[in-house]
Symmetry: D2
Subunit: 432 residues, 4 copies
């Protein structure tokens, strides 16, 4: 893939930053995209320089006049630990560091940008956001699915919004691109800055999405429970369905963090259900030899098997392909199989998703969200638009929205997957 990491600026930055610091970040200071000694020159940009990415950070000159600026925040998609930390950081940085006093929150995701939904705006003040990090979820609430772009841009104009901060995933990034296209078409000076949110950690280019650390911690608890239940009964199986639409990042990391999992099934590594090398046969062997098993299945795993067995694909309001429920499917498939081979089975099914998505961020995620919010404000005030703020090679950078998409992140030859195989003892392939 050929990337273009050029960043769009709304215009010349004429206003002196109110920040009283000495180490402003310069646009010219960029992070190399390839950083190995044998490849850093392999890709070049339009000027023939090694491909590089703009660093995030406060600029000494900014585009928006803080005293005149009105900022807005919207949160979209599924809940995820840390959203409130980002909201707090955005608000505090705008208010205390830049002196922006007009900050509003749209309620219920993009629905809130449609005035027809009649959801009131929330005034975001330091007092209002001060303690919100102890609560999970989003104080602005969220929704899934798109809204009419014209309607949303009309509303932004009517409200005199200068900067819109979007906290959301793949679908939200796509929606933000459309809003920018319309804003550009109308030649408006509205900056759109995204903070990527995906509990699945499945965005390409991005080192780690916020909330992921917390999700692993909670998933580990579910694994412990499944293990206790599996060992607590004769031929006991603990089956956990966990988040992971496109990528099994949560499942793999959780399996590495807690050593009791015996099978990890993820979207990236296809498997057969039946046949000599298929999952059910391997599972039977394990049960016969060890008397129990813990299975961790990412929601996006085995979709090919499901479609064969069930029905055609549908899309949900966000435009995501609606996943068929691999968890309940596997539960039934295992039960049927053990009945067929006449083996006693005690299967306990655990689906902890909402118990994970809803908790407040752990310390590591809190700090990370705090940073993301701060860098997003620096970008927005500087008039950067159409970007998202991300961590890459442990540096905060600006990425054009179109460079980032939800995608598979694990290859069956990746070190992390090899470590999972080693930890679980599951065979490298369960394909016939």
């Amino acid at each position: 893939m050929k990337y273009n990491f050029s960043i769009t600026n709304l215009g010349k930055r004429l206003i002196k930053s109110p920040l009283n610091i000495s180490n402003f970040t310069q646009d010219q200071k960029r992070l190399l995209f390839n950083t190995y000694s044998d490849n850093y020159l392999s890709c070049t940009d339009e000027k023939g320089q090694p491909l590089s990415v703009e660093l995030a950070g406060p600029r000494d000159k900014i585009f928006f006049d803080p005293s005149q600026t009105k900022a807005a925040i919207v949160t979209c998609g599924g809940l995820c630990p840390g959203i409130n930390d980002v909201i707090r950081s955005l608000t505090m940085t705008l208010f205390h560091r830049y002196g922006v006093k007009k900050i509003v929150g749209f309620k219920y995701g993009l629905m809130g940008l449609n005035p027809a939904s009649a959801h009131k705006l929330i005034n975001l003040t330091p007092e209002f956001v001060n303690d919100i990090t102890s609560i999970g979820g989003s104080i602005l609430s969220t929704s899934r699915g798109p809204q009419d772009v014209d309607v949303m841009v009309d509303y932004l104009v009517r409200l005199n919004i200068n900067i819109l901060f979007c906290i959301g995933g793949d679908g939200t990034i796509r929606a933000a691109e459309k809003i920018i296209a319309e804003v550009t078409r109308r030649d408006l000076k509205i900056a759109i800055v995204c903070i990527p949110k995906t509990i699945d950690n499945d965005l390409n280019l991005i080192q780690k999405s916020f909330g992921f650390d917390t999700a692993i911690e909670k998933t580990v608890e579910a694994i412990k429970s499944a293990h206790v239940e599996a060992k607590g009964a004769f031929n006991g199986i603990g089956l956990i369905k966990i988040m992971g639409r496109n990528s099994g990042h949560i499942a793999t990391h959780a399996a590495l963090a807690q050593n009791d999992t015996n099978f990890v099934l993820i979207p990236e590594v296809p498997f057969d259900l039946e046949g000599e090398n298929g999952f059910l046969t391997i599972l039977k062997k394990r049960i016969k030899s060890r008397g129990h098993a813990v299975i961790l299945v990412a929601e996006g795993a085995g979709q090919d098997i499901l479609r064969e067995n069930i029905s055609p694909m549908e899309k949900d309001p966000s435009g995501n392909i609606r996943l068929l429920d691999i968890g309940l499917f596997l539960k039934n498939a295992i039960e049927d199989y053990f009945k067929k081979i006449d083996l006693e089975l005690n299967l306990k099914y655990i689906e902890p998703s909402y118990l994970i998505r809803s908790v407040s961020a752990n310390a590591s995620d809190s700090i990370y969200c705090n940073s993301l919010g701060q860098y997003a404000v620096h970008a927005g005030m500087a008039g950067k638009t159409g970007i998202l703020v991300a961590l890459m090679k442990d540096e905060y950078v600006h990425l054009p929205l179109n460079t980032v998409t939800s995608s598979r992140k694990i290859d069956s030859q990746d070190n992390i997957w090899l470590r999972v195989l080693e930890t679980t003892g599951q065979p490298p392939s369960m394909k016939n």
Copy 2:
């Protein structure tokens, strides 16, 4: 109900207790069953004395010679926090305080008492049990359902078991009664002592079952999550199905411990689904006025409604009436109803059962289990049989097995239920 609290002793106690203490408990020292100034004389026993219950505690003379005694432990039914604490306490007290060196554990509940199941006995030593309290579940594993009584008694005889400690619920207590009947018929000197286990806390006469405190702590986490999810979406509902077959003890206590629940549905308080005063109408009103709701439903609630709507009752291997799934039924009923009245709905369904049953005991339950195990050993060594060890009015007592059954424990006029109504704001009746 007329109780008979006479305790059966296997025989005269001729052996001096090895315990080097000065405060042994005398059989004659009993706890009054009625302890109010206006009723303590209202019930009398066969000797015309106020009805009373035998106190648990070490006896100065014991029935079994520790050097010759072989004890066994079995754990039955669903997992529950604290089982391993009881196993540890039984083992440590037998070994260190009485000097009983032969202690075995049957694997997989009553299945383990059937030699045909070929499950190996576990040798229980202080080393083996020392650290088991940090793990949830039961190191002996469990199973549900009965086994042939003759076969079990034959096996106890073959193994030379003198005392059998049964950790289990209603079904296990009934099974223990049958074993005792057969043991008595054969004139064997085998003591059977039960430690009641029910995460639902639904046994009559008993102040609190072990694991209950821990279960409430974990349920509170689920309520917090449901609340975050409910508030996180437009017309959000968090619906939690929680344990509670016959009694809504867990649901009511958890609702009191965490103030975010709006509806508590329990087996003891019937409700209508439809109609002007029915649950769905009340729920709709709440959603319209407040935008979100948290519902906590005990698994045994609304069984009348389910049977009307679905199918006849069945029994599970333990002989319990198989409950129809009120959780999924309610989920569907709510979704259908909101679709019918054309109201947007975002319902998140949470079923945390195994995530609760499988954790290790909290400090309070650990201490309680430690006590129960110790008193059970004192009883068994004294030759008490057909009893269970229980907490009553904050004293440890011996209760004949036939006095204790699983039952509804909450009355709609009880203080605890009134407090739930007050906390949730739900109407006293949702019957038409």
Copy 3:
């Protein structure tokens, strides 16, 4: 001791309770004080009836007219998990169940009852208290030490307070007695109802003080840490100083809840430091044979040794005898001793007190605090005064203030202490 459990009523109860329930509690219904079959008749009251205690609960007739009533709450002494739960429950019960709308909180303990301190009153409303249970400490803050009684009563009169709820320990109960004496002398109709608070669980007659369960849970964490540190170094010792001025309840319960403690030192069981059977000799033996040790010392332990070695006794602002610091004293004594006998030592000293006192209540304590607040309101509205609300034999009762004092609660022959000896392996006596 001869108890008199007569309860003082401010006057005839002429107002119908606004509670819409059917099961009011009658004054005549009392709980027997002695409930064993061989002693329930052993103590009698002034009427020759078996000694009994008044049950707590809502009365069908009440003394105060809710629409005219003004209630106040004050919290005194050290922090303890659950204070905010009690404040919330008092407020909610007064407001929602009785319709009392004027509820105020005094800031900073008894200081707040002295207008010279100029601390503003807090208006306690349902909105204000709704979420306070998630925070530790007291939203009213506390202080130690007495204030002038006349000044406080003058202020109560000036503010038109009808019921004063005092949440505090031994010192607060003594202060409340003085306020009542003055209120009575002036023939005022002000009810004083106490909710006993002591993290040490050291009040006689009372089954369990609130916050105690939570304190044990946190102490268990400290024991685990001390154990890890002790085993992590050669001849490692983990020494924990824990709360417990008069009674070692926390230390003993925590030692039972977590099996890694090797020595428990409490106020009730004196020990020698030196000499053949003294603590240091026993400790040396353990270190030589096992290489590590965990010691849990209650702050009130070994005060005799300290006084010999250091200085005369002083009193703190609450009138408590100021304890000399047994923790640091032991630390130094152990280090000196090991230096003297030339044995390597790695001692880690842990003092978790504030990390325990400051946490929010666990689920079990939350429910308990909720009950206590509710019963206190029922008592206050009925015009009961000079009482505290307490749990006794698992029933909520009213106790006259003068019957309750802080005291030693563990006897060296008590079952709980014997279990500690068994768990730790420490010798029954470390006296020469």
Copy 4:
């Protein structure tokens, strides 16, 4: 500073790796040391190439024959969350991926490498290490301070150790350098690979040390407690002393993760105690205006003030300068100052160090430790020596031991420190 990142190899790698993978790491593939577009060419190595660092990872050819290899592990210095995770990962990777069956652990740090200490070696097997990650500390225990190099090398030779894995901090790295010098002098083929351990996260070049994330989580709990205690009393101050000898990394990160801290004092930012701009004056102002304060002080802060006030510097057994206790010093200084200005003060002092160091790793640290152990084994088996395995720009690399030292990591112009100032509201300078 001019770095030399050349890595020493014990010799030619002639043995085919037993790993059945396709993506081995080549020595030539290196990570650029400078990765900004304006500086990547600014430093060059001896060959005139941009300065770069060797990537960690499995090599296709290895130096040691697994069937003949004997590996050893030693853990040194203070405890830290995750040590057991590293030990487990080293053992599992050696055993299962390379087939090395002879793995031993030295007990008690470098003491264990001195046979005179007579500590038994521990045989490290998969069974032995399987569950150790649930325990805090080090199953090998640790010690501080050096041992004679000749003696240690003699012992390594006598035991036929081929690879020594050292888990430790600055002192351990220095000791490892001396062992390597002696090993080289004797021309022995023993590889020494370090896994850097410092809870303070104060090693230069290294992105994050293991255990740091967990330490922040626990420190956050202490901040919450200090905040509750500070607000719970009139003019309340919660003063926490936290780890951080050379760098205030823990203090700054914890302050960012939990927003209740008002003052953060770290080694990198000097302050005056007295005077108009001094800390005490600022503190007094805050107390007068807000009534409470939370202070977080890193143990290495204000050492200049202490030395002026107290005594000359000493060194501990590890050769670290023995820090004077800034926590107790500040406690006394604040108490004296408030007494002098006659202002009531309620100061609660909290020192949670051992409660933090001793816990087991959180999920994120577990995964990280798992990686570090694995990469260390790949390096050792390949015959790399005199290196440590580290994370740098989110890549695992090999660093020569002499490039890494403990150092100050925060500059008063760093973004992270500016964020602390913003969060706490403390003035940028408290120097007169």
